[in-house]
């Protein structure tokens, strides 16, 4: 688990999730019942969340930084390889990774998947009005 945490934090170090605002990525983990598939209700229970909004693929959630990033934005393009690498690390490190969003304006976003008997990954915030 420590290796996995170090890998994800290293891949996301210094990066921000840009929406109407911006927010860093932080580590999150919680116990997960053996044999249970990941679902929004389970994620909400694991992290004490409510007000489920939606589920997204990791690639879609980070598309604004990767495939759909603005070609006119030089700073964004300079960072794109790091976000591409972050997507690859998440998909290679977690079982059934997906992004679960909770809340209204400041949505808490859990980029998580299974790792043994835990659900783990990165947390950030998306500002959407």
């Amino acid at each position: 688990m420590a290796d996995l945490r170090a890998r994800l934090l290293a891949a996301s170090a210094g990066l921000l999730y840009l929406s109407e605002g911006e927010s860093p990525f932080t580590w999150c983990e919680a116990p997960w019942p053996a044999g249970r598939a990941v679902d929004p209700g389970g994620v909400a229970g694991a992290f004490g969340e409510a007000d489920y909004a939606r589920t997204m693929r990791v690639e879609d959630f980070l598309a604004g930084h990767t495939t759909a990033s603005d070609p006119e934005d030089d700073a964004a393009q300079a960072l794109r390889p790091r976000y591409d690498a972050l997507v690859a690390v998440i998909n290679a490190s977690l079982e059934a990774p997906a992004v679960y969003l909770f809340g209204d304006v400041a949505k808490r976003c859990y980029i998580v998947g299974l790792a043994g008997d835990h659900i783990v990954g990165l947390r950030t915030v998306a500002f959407e009005t």
């Binding site: 921000l16 109407e20 598309a63 930084h65 934005d73 500002f127 009005t129």
Partner: protein
Amino acid sequence: MPTRLRLALLALAGLAACSRPEPAPTAPTADPDVGAPSFYTYPNALYRNHVEFGTPSDGSPTNDYVVHRTTHSFSHNCAEGGPNWVSWNLNKTHYGDAPRSSSFYADTGLPSGCYRVVSSDYTNSGYSRGHMVRSEERTWSAEHNKQTFYMTNILPQHQDMNGGPWYKFEQYLQDLAQNQNKELYVIAGGIGNKGTLNNAGKVVIPTYTWKIVVVLPYGQGLANVTSSSSLQVIAVKMPNTAGISTNGWAMYKTTVNDIENLTKYDFLARLPDAIETDWEGRVF
């Protein structure tokens, strides 16, 4: 004041926009994932004249680069890196299930020599990328939604305002359009100068952002305005500051005259003079 030619062209544009038949709604679009309230998705998004009540004018073309898009019209200020005003029609047909754009985009429609603001100009500035035309108001198609993510539709807003009273007013307008069957004509923009984002000299941070909304029954426009009782006009002016996230929108009501005095723009100039004078001095 618009020229006679401009009036004629606007009238023709309005007639063309209003002549399309109203489509029948499709079945409600269920969202099994969320279980949220569902709304009708119309076969077409009916955009009427985005400057139905007149193209806002400050009497000088300097720093007014006016653009008319499918989803809205705006005047861009190249010196300030943001819109002087954005003007748009809003009704129930504009809402749908299109996904929110993944990113913000520089507006490549601006002329050469005009700095094209990019999303990264806002990063680490402490200010949000504040929509004038709200993303949710253009969800009939992904392409229409993307037009709200061009940086020419964005002003720096403190998140406490953007996610607070500004957002609550956006929700109020959504309720008017979707649930109360109203036709809205909205204008929004910024007032003042609190410096520039990251002190980079590219994007001016407004002291206030404002909105003027003409409310009519669905399907109506200027031609239906025969007296002051034909319409309602709501104007708000919200401070671009921290600490207001829990405030309601109604405490920021003001008059159109107040916004005109501060921006130097003339709004709603196509209203008959007596009606314009009446409503521009009222607080809704």
